[in-house]
């Protein structure tokens, strides 16, 4: 855990820091991926849902570390149906204070982001955190869309985040490297690996989560800008050609003449 450089005044200032952490469900990474209804729907049969790892491991845990050091409040928000309350309770068990479920099917990233932005607008948060992407649709869209809807600065793919007073200092991935940046709150941050270490909820956390407030709010009217029409599976690989481990010249020859990649 990193240590904050603080004076008393900034602690006081941050005592009421309100952090909103956006979580999404995603199928467990070992799930068999299949489609139904003529390949138009993801087959949920036998699929176990988890909290999207980037949201849980990085955004949520870092938010909790900030709260533990500086005080404040961590709220979970998720757009989804009653069935998704299991993943919300998991986030509460890890340590979030309260949660909001926006009661709607998250039809696309735009729809989801505008729902969250509307909620954030009417409830006043200092910092909105998300994972860098979901592992099912891998769009990396929601955080940037929330930022634009709220007209806030957006630091994407942050690998470190520290708070001092009203200023965030972040390390983020840029094309071919890393950059250290500063931004004043309020802001939106998407979190990548490096931000924090995964936390496993303990029994006390799981018990406490049952009684933590989980508010259900109605969605606002929003258009859906994109839709998934159908899905296909990649072609099965043809059999692997085995090469004698002592004959790497043959491998190079095949990569050049047969595969044509070098």
């Amino acid at each position: 855990m990193r240590i904050f450089v603080l004076n008393l005044r900034t602690i006081e200032n941050n005592e009421n820091m309100k952090i909103l952490v956006c979580i999404s469900k995603s199928p467990d990474t070992t799930s068999k991926i299949a489609f139904t209804d003529n390949n138009t729907k993801f087959d949920e049969n036998g699929v176990q849902y988890i909290v999207n790892p980037y949201d849980e491991w990085y955004a949520l845990v870092r938010a909790l570390e900030i709260k533990e050091t500086l005080g404040g409040n961590v709220t979970i928000v998720s757009v989804g149906s009653a069935a998704d309350e299991a993943i919300i309770r998991k986030a509460l068990a890890i340590g979030a204070d309260d949660a909001v479920r926006i009661d709607a099917e998250p039809t696309d990233a735009y729809y989801t982001a505008v729902q969250i932005a509307e909620y954030a607008k009417s409830n006043g948060f200092d910092l909105v955190m998300t994972g860098k992407e979901t592992i099912n649709y891998n769009g990396s869209q929601v955080a940037g869309m929330i930022a634009e809807s709220l007209d806030l600065p957006f630091v994407s793919l942050a690998t470190k985040l520290d708070v001092s007073g009203n200023t965030l200092t972040l390390e983020r991935e840029i094309v071919g490297g890393l950059e250290v940046v500063q931004v004043a709150l309020p802001a939106v941050v998407s979190c990548a690996k490096g931000m924090a270490e995964q936390r496993i909820p303990n029994m006390r956390g799981i018990m406490a989560a049952r009684t933590k407030p989980l508010q259900v709010v109605a969605p606002v009217a929003v258009d859906t800008l994109t839709s998934y029409v159908s899905y296909t599976m990649p072609n099965a690989k043809s059999a692997c050609k085995m090469i004698d481990p002592t004959n790497m010249d043959e491998l190079v020859e095949l990569l050049h003449n047969e595969a044509k990649v070098i």
């Binding site: 990474t29 070992t30 790892p53 505008v114 099912n136 940037g144 840029i174 690989k237 595969a259």
Partner: protein, 314 residues
């Protein structure tokens, strides 16, 4: 149909820029490129070879702040009457394209891997590369962010005009304190050749073999998740479902078992070579070429074979 392509030209033009312009050309005859910074006009004019009609450049805007770039591209989209906007799906696009989608209320397809099908849908990777989804945009203007290495750049045009453009990008609210860019490294998502290694290499001190092969090939290096987690390699090299997703022409994996989460990030590779002591390693099922053998012997041998091949004029 008018097409606008955003290009990041801050560090010269990369292959991904040529891919994005080529893609734009396939969407419509009239392709405008929007960029910013101080790349010289002669360099920018070469985008005409790939199909750009003209390049607009905002010289007043430096850096890659998402809020500013969003304003710039929105201004250019309005000025050019674009109905399609194309990005290369890199770190900048991941921050800018979603903002632009909200600003223009234009549907965003991120990570496109092909040109639109006859029905107008565009294929993207879903479930971290375990399947493809066909996405339809319901709005009048659409934004497509193209995954690097998905199409071949086609240069059959001529240099185009380059015009100064005032994008009214405003101020940035983000202050850059410092930048770390390792010299001479090939950014992993753009690399055409990748050499990757896993826990089978036993320790960070053995990565010299991996780097030697990578430098003989001109390849980028990558690793499995546990290797990044224990700190043997930097996080940005971690590929897979919870790391970087890549689709190089060639992916060589040594001492990696081929867990489903690892495969998810690399199975878009055109050709996969697997080196593993265990003939039963699951990775062989996803491989094109397999070598059952000790990486400590096979990697140096392969490096020598590549050097011999390269020195014979390839």
């Amino acid at each position: 149909m008018s097409v606008l392509v955003y290009i990041n030209s801050n560090n010269g033009l990369h292959k991904s820029a040529f891919e994005a312009v080529t893609y734009g050309k396939k969407l419509g005859a009239d392709v405008t490129v929007i960029t910013s910074g101080n790349a010289d006009a002669a360099t920018l004019a070469t985008l005409g070879n790939y199909g750009a009609t003209k390049v607009l450049v905002d010289r007043a805007l430096n850096g890659d702040d998402a809020q500013q770039l969003t304003r710039l591209i929105a201004t250019a989209a309005t000025a050019s009457g674009a109905t399609s906007i194309v990005f290369s799906h890199d770190i900048i696009a991941k921050a800018v394209a979603p903002r632009l989608s909200v600003r223009l209320k234009a549907g965003l397809i991120s990570g496109a891997i092909a040109v639109p099908s006859a029905d107008g849908t565009v294929n993207v990777n879903v479930f971290s590369g375990k399947a493809f989804g066909a996405v339809k945009v319901n709005s009048a203007v659409k934004i497509i962010s193209l995954l690097p290495n998905s199409i071949q750049p086609e240069a059959n045009g001529a240099a185009c005009t380059v015009e100064d453009f005032a994008g009214n990008a405003g101020d940035s609210k983000i202050t850059i304190v410092s930048t770390k860019k390792p010299e001479g490294e090939i950014p992993l998502p753009e690399a055409e050749l990748v050499v990757s290694a896993g826990r089978g290499l036993k320790g960070p001190e053995n990565w010299g073999m991996v780097e030697d092969l990578a430098s003989a090939l001109g390849a980028a290096t990558a690793c499995s998740r546990p290797v990044a987690d224990i700190g043997w390699r930097p996080h940005h090299e971690h590929v897979g479902q919870t790391g970087v997703a890549i689709r190089p022409n060639l992916y060589i994996a040594a001492g990696i078992s081929g867990a489903i989460q690892h495969l998810a990030g690399v199975n878009g590779s055109k050709v996969i070579v697997v080196i593993n002591t265990d003939a039963e390693a699951p990775f062989f099922k996803a491989a094109d070429y397999g070598v059952v053998g000790d990486a400590f012997e096979v990697l140096p041998r392969l490096t020598e074979a590549v050097k011999k091949f390269r020195s014979s004029g390839h």
